[in-house]
């Protein structure tokens, strides 16, 4: 018997002791196979067959040979790398300031750091045209520039960094919160400077989170459709190119292949992160009672960080303020007199799609949140067959451009054995499987901080894996759990390209309505929708925060005991 087989038998034996866990793993693997791998296989198969069913790789060859596709591919990668870098830096500054220092108005900073993901992204693109376009408020109105070109890579970098930094913030604040501050305090007591502590303790400890954030933003940027479509200008990207080929050239096959090409850099980044970063995690949460977390309050550190955050907040407020003001003016850009007409219009005709969107998001959020935590827990903590398959497949749908996910879902679920088109179920599935990775990545980074002996202790004392997960692990990764929930709720509410192909007459949602309003220049009505959506999402975040805080944190209990 060789080692592999032994190892395998050992895993089997271990799993036999916990049949429910085995069942869960089985269900997750099956669900990922059906809702991620199966559609992907269907669209790959579709792209390499001709109309009459014979297989051909001619389309792939044509795509690879085409110089403009290659250029577009490189454009996407370049943009993704830059946007990921900037967004992660901004996200880290926010996360560090909020979790590690004594600054005023933390609630405000937190709201600002999540705001950009809560509205459809093309809104930022529109704001940027209003602010920096030819008749832009800033370029023309204030600076008097008459011919500023707002279209192109510079705008894309700005808009993408701004729209995606919340993902980095969410991932990083989860992990920074999870780092036990006693390590930092110990260093401080030994006389190390704050700067030294940051570079030798805090920063290395947050590396797994940084890589997760980079990966997530990179993938988001690659598959982003609406921003490049609106303000990309002379900078063609692969996601937009795929859409153009599908809907403009009526060439679904080439479009599918272009989208599948997008998976390559995403996969490369994923593998890099997986093999390079694994082993870079350090355990800091050991279960031993720690002192109350001391936060940095030295003025020379807090003031610069606070200033940077405030400046970023100002930019965000400027962009969103433009949208909010737009909802209350007669005709955006022309007649700025105040009116409630747009809200009246939205509330009279648009309640049903809004209700649908909320219902679907409510259904998808807990499923996505818990599934994400379960997958992170299983892949970090348990040994089982199909672990690599699980963590990889959970990322795939996230990395594909939305329109292709939509098309692959029709190919997979419009026929027996899975006849799901036209139902709410298929939309919920898209939301769940498309929004999983943010929760998973956050939780994985946080889990790497936590000493497995905590969970082992729980198991040894007779708890099963589920009790351990809900009473020990989940409370410890609460931050990441919350981020995952918020992200899936928001993304389910605001999804555009992923669902455009699978919405049905019965299940139509609000974002498609907003898109149509843009088509007929009714920007202010669109803005009114967006304001209402922002209110709904803020309410949801508030409720989620309340619910997640109900999860009892063992750390807090431990601290209380120590104090008492």
């Amino acid at each position: 018997m060789n080692n592999r087989t032994k190892d395998f038998l050992w895993k089997l034996k271990m799993l036999r002791q916990e049949p429910v866990l085995v069942l869960l793993i089985f269900i997750l693997l099956a669900a990922l196979s059906i809702f991620v791998i199966f559609p992907l296989v269907m669209i790959i198969r579709y792209s390499i067959t001709t109309e009459d069913g014979t297989y051909t790789i001619q389309t792939i060859i044509d795509v690879i040979k085409n110089a403009s596709y290659r250029l577009t591919f490189m454009n996407s990668v370049k943009l993704g790398v830059i946007a990921a870098g900037i967004a992660t830096v901004i996200g880290y500054i926010f996360a560090f300031t909020i979790t590690r220092t004594e600054v005023p108005c933390k609630g405000f900073l937190k709201t600002m750091a999540t705001l950009p993901i809560i509205s459809p992204p093309f809104v930022l693109s529109l704001s940027i045209i209003f602010l920096f376009g030819r008749k832009g408020l800033i370029t023309n109105g204030i600076l008097g520039i008459t011919d500023f070109n707002v279209y192109g890579m510079h705008s894309l970098i700005l808009v993408q960094s701004l729209s995606f930094f919340p993902i980095a913030y969410l991932t990083l604040s989860g992990i920074l919160e999870a780092i036990d501050s006693s390590v930092e305090d110990a260093a401080l007591n030994l006389g190390a400077s704050r700067w030294k502590i940051f570079w030798t303790v805090t920063f290395p400890l947050s590396l797994p989170g940084i890589f997760s954030a980079l990966l997530l933003v990179f993938i988001q940027s690659l598959q982003d459709f609406s921003n490049p479509a609106v303000i990309g200008g002379g900078y063609p990207t692969l996601g937009v190119e795929a859409y153009r080929v599908i809907t403009g050239m009526y060439d679904l096959r080439t479009g599918a292949i272009l989208s599948i090409m997008l998976l390559l850099p995403s996969l490369a980044a994923f593998l890099l992160q997986k093999y390079w970063v694994s082993g870079k995690g350090f355990v800091t949460v050991t279960g031993k009672p720690s002192q109350n977390r001391t936060k940095i309050d030295q003025k020379h550190i807090v003031i610069p960080l606070f200033t940077v955050c405030l400046m970023l907040c100002a930019v965000i407020i400027l962009f969103y303020g433009t949208v909010i003001v737009g909802a209350f003016v007669k005709v955006w850009g022309i007649d700025y007199s105040f009116t409630f007409d747009h809200f009246r219009y939205v509330l009279s005709v648009g309640l049903k799609p809004l209700k649908n969107a909320i219902l679907l998001a409510l259904a998808a959020t807990p499923i996505a949140g818990l599934t994400g935590m379960a997958i992170a827990f299983l892949t970090v903590r348990k040994k089982f067959i199909g672990k690599g398959y699980m963590s990889l497949s959970a990322m795939l749908t996230f990395a594909l451009p939305g329109s292709v996910v939509g098309i692959s879902y029709i190919l997979a679920f419009n026929d027996k054995p899975f006849l799901l088109t036209g139902t709410a179920f298929i939309l919920i599935c898209v939301f769940v499987f498309r929004n999983l990775p943010v929760g998973i990545e956050g939780a994985k980074s946080a889990l790497m901080q936590i000493d497995p002996s905590l969970e082992e202790a729980s198991i040894n004392m007779g708890a099963n894996s589920f009790q351990t997960f809900f009473h020990v692990t989940l409370p410890l990764i609460k931050g990441a759990f919350f981020s995952g929930l918020v992200y899936s709720f928001v993304k389910s509410m605001t999804a555009v390209s992923a669902i455009i192909f699978i919405v049905s007459a019965r299940w139509n949602v609000v974002t498609t309505r907003i898109f149509s309003l843009f088509e007929v220049s009714q920007y202010s009505d669109a803005a009114a929708y967006i304001v209402i959506m922002i209110l709904v999402i803020m309410a949801a975040i508030y409720v989620l925060n309340f619910l997640v805080n109900l999860i009892n944190s063992p750390q807090k209990t431990a601290k209380k005991t120590v104090k008492g």
């Binding site: 067959i385 054995p417 088509e519």
Partner: protein
């Protein structure tokens, strides 16, 4: 290796298990399907969402049939019905350039139907086989920024040659022919007017004055409204919309001849059986005077094809415009080739804007 093999088998078994579970469900729903005609109709519609209710409400008043719709662009609808081929989720496709209907018919996705109302519609607008029916026409036009022209003291463009004037450098917005039916109509119009080689030279010259190639065909007039371009090339009904919204946009036409689009409607092949009769009723209604008169009340500015219908106020009747004898079938057949050539010409000049 063995480990991986076992994984694969386990996963495959899981999938197979779940598949059997779902098959039963699907069978049940198939049994439940009624053969009787439904009082509801499902439609994919490429018209702006703000316009759609005006047609559906009027239709319901006349027939009592409720129409449920999904709004998508014409290209999206084509992709959707292509992948839904085995089990179409709608019975009607309403709106969008006939160009994409021709492509759909070539892929065998449409069900021919000849409405009796076609008798009132000029034959040159019709598809000889009846795969699709014409519902409106729109001529290519120039949306111009009134304020920009006033400040510069320039005249509105009145011909395609005018667009090449050096004072318009970086001022013109049009969609990319590869992503927009509107822009392809412009390209095909130029080829039909000038011949292929000369048309490509023209597009290359025009490229100097182009500020941005947009994705959607209705975007250029909006860019003009927002001041992002001084001239936008699009169909007249799209050019007139920002003006209604209050933007300083006016419309001019090429006096030396212009192309036009035919908006179409069609039955989707193998659509829900219980909807077929109602779907035919809907097509009849949309082509009738009643259905076409709605254009004059809903500020869509679409030009009716039924010769008895009222022409919307503010819109210019197509018979008053110097439209060329645009060959739709030819345009549909040469589409891929012309777009590739266009992309080459433009890309050679300077990368895609």
């Amino acid at each position: 290796m063995r480990n991986k093999f076992i994984t694969t088998v386990a996963v495959a078994l899981g999938v197979a298990f779940l598949m059997t579970g779902c098959t039963k469900k699907a069978d049940q729903s198939a049994e439940g399907a009624a053969v009787e005609q439904s009082k509801e109709l499902t439609m994919y519609c490429a018209l702006p969402e703000t316009e759609i209710p005006s047609y559906l409400e009027a239709f319901k008043k006349d027939t009592g049939i409720t129409v449920n719709f999904v709004r998508l662009s014409a290209g999206e609808i084509l992709s959707k019905i292509q992948v839904e081929k085995n089990n179409p989720q709608a019975s009607i496709w309403y709106g969008g350039n006939c160009d994409s209907f021709i492509a759909a018919a070539n892929k065998d996705l449409l069900e021919p139907y000849r409405s009796p109302e076609l008798a009132n519609i000029p034959e040159n607008y019709q598809d000889p086989i009846g795969n699709w029916s014409p519902v409106y026409v729109g001529a290519l036009a120039f949306a111009v920024d009134k304020d920009w022209f006033a400040t510069k003291g320039l005249e509105y463009p009145h011909s395609w040659a005018d667009l090449l004037k050096p004072e318009f450098e970086g001022q013109i917005s049009m969609a990319h022919p590869g992503s927009s039916g509107t822009a392809y109509t412009i390209l095909a119009t130029m080829v039909q007017m000038l011949g292929e080689e000369e048309a490509m030279t023209y597009m290359g010259e025009l490229n100097k004055n182009i500020r941005q190639y947009t994705k959607s065909g209705s975007a250029p007039p909006k860019n003009v409204g927002l001041g992002e371009a001084a001239i936008g090339l699009a169909f007249s009904h799209d050019c007139l919309k920002p003006a209604v919204q209050g933007y300083p946009v006016e419309v001019s036409f090429a006096d030396d001849g212009t192309g036009y689009e035919i908006g179409a409607i069609a039955l989707i092949k193998n659509g829900p059986e219980e909807e077929v009769e109602s779907a035919k009723k809907f097509i009849d209604w949309v082509l009738s005077k009643k259905g076409q008169d709605v254009y004059s009340t809903n500020s869509s500015f679409r030009l009716p094809v039924n010769s008895n219908a009222v022409v919307p106020e503010g819109a210019i009747n197509i018979s008053d415009l110097p439209v060329i004898d645009y060959d739709f079938l030819w345009a549909g057949e040469n589409r891929t080739r012309l777009i590739e050539k266009f992309t080459e010409v433009i890309a050679a000049k300077e990368n895609l804007k």
